[in-house]
């Protein structure tokens, strides 16, 4: 895949140590995107977590962790959303190119193209695209990166709602900021900028104080995912030509052999000595 310069993309810098789990972002997202509320009961997870997962109605969600570690309480929050990958798996597998990584950063979805095959859902390493399961002719739903706001010079709705934890700006600056924070507060953070390299780099990057797996971050490969399929797919023309060509050549040879054999047989038949056709087991 073509390697576009992603350093000038806009990116989110989400500092989980600053997230208070207030879920203003979750509500702001629903408001901007006019998403229906989900019907929930009690809590669907630790702490006050709701709804149970991202869905066609929920593009971003705060995952709660409420547990004890070495006798100390841990009450932690993790914002799930589309990672707006630099090289999005969803875009690469979509047969109709319904996903597009924009120059501004967001990976957007062109609903009018989608045929609803759900390959994007299988492909996304972060489990982001969701489906309109309730509909007869469903489409895919996911965080839009608030592309409509970005284009107007606004920040994404969730970033606007958040007091402290969500930063938004050019990706290289966000990474620099993240690394500065790691250097300045080494005790506060796990020494890692999640999203800098994950899945080949994403436009959503995280800092946390707890191990990433404890917060429920997905373990993903560092290689851009489209490469995994492309390494096979790029062979397609070659395979087609070599199989086609090979078989053609083969058949030409066998046909020629047959023809020669037939001619020979015909000749022999004329001479009256037809060999019996034995099973060649």
């Amino acid at each position: 895949m073509s390697k576009a310069d992603t350093s000038k993309n806009n990116a989110f810098l989400i500092d989980m140590t600053k997230c208070t789990g207030c879920r203003g972002c979750q509500v702001a997202c629903k408001q901007w995107n006019q998403l229906e509320a989900e019907e929930t009961e009690f809590f669907s997870g630790e702490g006050y977590q709701n709804p149970p997962a991202m869905s066609e109605y929920t593009f971003t969600r705060i995952k709660f962790r409420d547990y004890q570690k070495n006798g100390q309480n841990e009450f932690a929050f993790y914002k799930e959303m589309c990672m707006h990958c630099n090289e999005p798996a969803c875009a690469s597998v979509c047969p109709v190119g319904a996903f597009e990584k924009t120059a501004e950063g967001p990976v957007i979805y062109k609903a009018e193209r989608c045929i609803g095959c759900r390959f994007c859902m299988i492909a996304c390493p972060f489990g982001v695209p969701k489906y309109e399961w309730s509909k007869g002719l469903p489409l895919v739903k996911k965080c839009t990166g608030c592309y409509s706001r970005i284009k107007e010079g606004l920040q994404p709705a969730c970033a606007t709602a958040c007091a402290m934890a969500i930063g938004y700006g050019p990706r290289d600056e966000m990474i620099k900021l993240a690394e500065q924070r790691l250097a300045r507060y080494p005790d506060r953070y796990i020494n890692k900028v999640y999203g800098k390299e994950e899945a080949g780099g994403t436009s959503v990057i995280y800092l946390t104080s707890l191990p990433f797996d404890e917060l429920g971050f997905k373990a993903v490969t560092l290689r851009p995912l489209p490469g995994y399929t492309w390494q096979a797919l790029r062979l397609v023309p070659g395979v087609f030509l070599s199989v086609g060509g090979g078989l053609s050549a083969f058949s030409w040879i066998t046909h020629r052999r047959d023809r020669l054999k037939n001619e020979k047989q015909a000749e022999l038949a004329e001479q009256g000595s037809v060999p019996s056709k034995e099973e060649q087991e």
């Binding site: 895949m1 095959c117 390959f119 299988i122 995994y228």
Partner: protein, 411 residues
């Protein structure tokens, strides 16, 4: 007699098994309608964790290699010149054509926006394995359709097209093989993107190659099973000697498969491999019973010669393939905390599709000259449209089932 009356009478004369198949197809059609009325969420057990289920795993990922007999045999017969296997080609083509048509139907049912299926041809995305497969399936179904036209033309004695078809036979066979190679393997490419989801026992970079080789193995085994079943239940002649020849190829392909499989596992994959007992078990059943055991069976002359055992070995391979495709596309990607199993409607639709396949095969066999097609008996040289060929007529009379017998499982 009106046409309707005639059809009714004809249907009435069908064997109860065919009627059962028709019923199952009918149920499947109703179930598919429900899917559109109530949506995928209500009618299937699919959800955001399992966007793909039985329909993709069976109707697409598994059905395609099961229909691989056509291109394999085509290539064997026409390209590698093992001409005596030619009588097996037509049933294989019918099976393939039906298989692919039903794959397309299954896929359309599974699509959220089936009415936009054509978008694939409008908005190309060459990076998408799905795009590649869609193009191939479309192309290949067309090829199979053309190939399938031969018996149709024979039946109706249409000589000019028949001659035309005969004339493009070779290019079609080559195209079929090339296209099939692509999409059979690309089905494996599908799962290369699931690098963080598919279990290490199945994920490896050679998945496309493995999918292709196993499709070839299975394609041949299906022919063995199909011919034997037709002999047994449809009164077709015993093609045992031909099948023996076919079976002789099996150890080579199976051996190659097992070799590549083990090589990719040991040399190209990273563990952990045996961290989930259920998957470990599935892996060993699949590889052991589905590939290694039949490899040893086919390697033995006595088994190859024995009609029954040969079929058993072939069935094992088919079983291995089915399990493999399910392991890759479903079990190996399953979250142990949230198990997927198909809903009633999903199951009914799939059963309907399988039933449809058998039903149409039987009906085609009943009305069209697909068996006993020994091309040497057909004179393609005369462009005489009015000359009627009598081959295939017999199947109409002989295409009945012995009482009480049923065809199970095998396609």
């Amino acid at each position: 007699m009106t046409a309707a009356r005639r059809i009714t009478n004809e249907v009435k004369s069908f064997h109860p098994f065919i009627k059962l198949l028709m019923l199952l197809v009918g149920v499947g059609v109703v179930a598919s309608l429900l899917r559109f009325v109530y949506g995928l969420g209500a009618t299937t057990n699919l959800n955001d964790t399992y966007p793909w289920g039985l329909w993709i795993s069976f109707d697409v990922v598994t059905a395609v290699p099961l229909a691989a007999g056509a291109f394999t045999l085509g290539a064997i017969v026409h390209c590698f010149g093992i001409k005596k296997l030619e009588p097996l080609v037509r049933p294989a083509i019918v099976t393939g054509f039906l298989g692919y048509s039903l794959v397309s139907i299954g896929l359309l049912l599974d699509l959220g926006q089936p009415q936009r299926g054509w978008h694939v041809f409008r908005y190309w995305n060459v990076h998408s394995p799905m795009f590649e497969v869609s193009m191939c399936v479309a192309a290949y179904t067309t090829v199979l359709f053309l190939e399938f036209l031969s018996p149709v033309c024979e039946k109706f004695g249409l000589h000019l097209p028949l001659r035309l078809l005969r004339w493009i036979e070779m290019p079609l066979v080559v195209a079929a093989a090339a296209i099939s190679t692509l999409h059979q393997s690309t089905l494996g490419t599908f799962f290369l993107i699931a690098v963080d989801k598919l279990h290490n026992l199945w994920y490896n970079p050679l998945l496309p190659l493995l999918f292709w080789i196993s499709a070839i193995c299975t394609g041949m085994c299906i022919i063995i099973i199909e011919a034997s079943a037709c002999h047994k239940w449809m009164g077709q002649p015993n093609e045992g000697t031909l099948l023996r020849t076919l079976a002789k190829i099996m150890p080579w392909t199976l051996g190659l498969y097992i070799f590549v499989r083990l090589f990719s596992l040991f040399a190209l994959s990273d563990g952990p491999f045996f961290d989930r007992p259920v998957l470990t078990l599935l892996f060993f059943i699949e590889l052991g019973f589905g590939f290694i055991l039949p490899f040893f069976m086919f390697a033995q002359k006595s088994i190859r010669k024995n009609d029954r055992r040969r079929v058993i070995a072939a069935c094992l391979v088919v079983f291995g393939l089915v399990l493999n495709r399910f392991n890759v596309s479903m079990f190996g990607m399953m979250d142990p905390n949230q198990i997927y199993y198909p809903s009633l409607i999903e199951t009914l639709v799939t059963i309907g599709i399988i039933a449809g396949h058998i039903l149409f095969f039987v009906l085609i066999a009943r009305y069209f000259p697909i068996f006993e097609h020994h091309p040497e008996t057909v004179d393609y040289s005369l462009p005489d449209q009015f000359r009627k060929i009598d081959s295939g007529e017999k199947s109409l009379e002989t295409g009945t089932f012995p009482e009480g017998e049923t065809v199970t499982g095998a396609r």
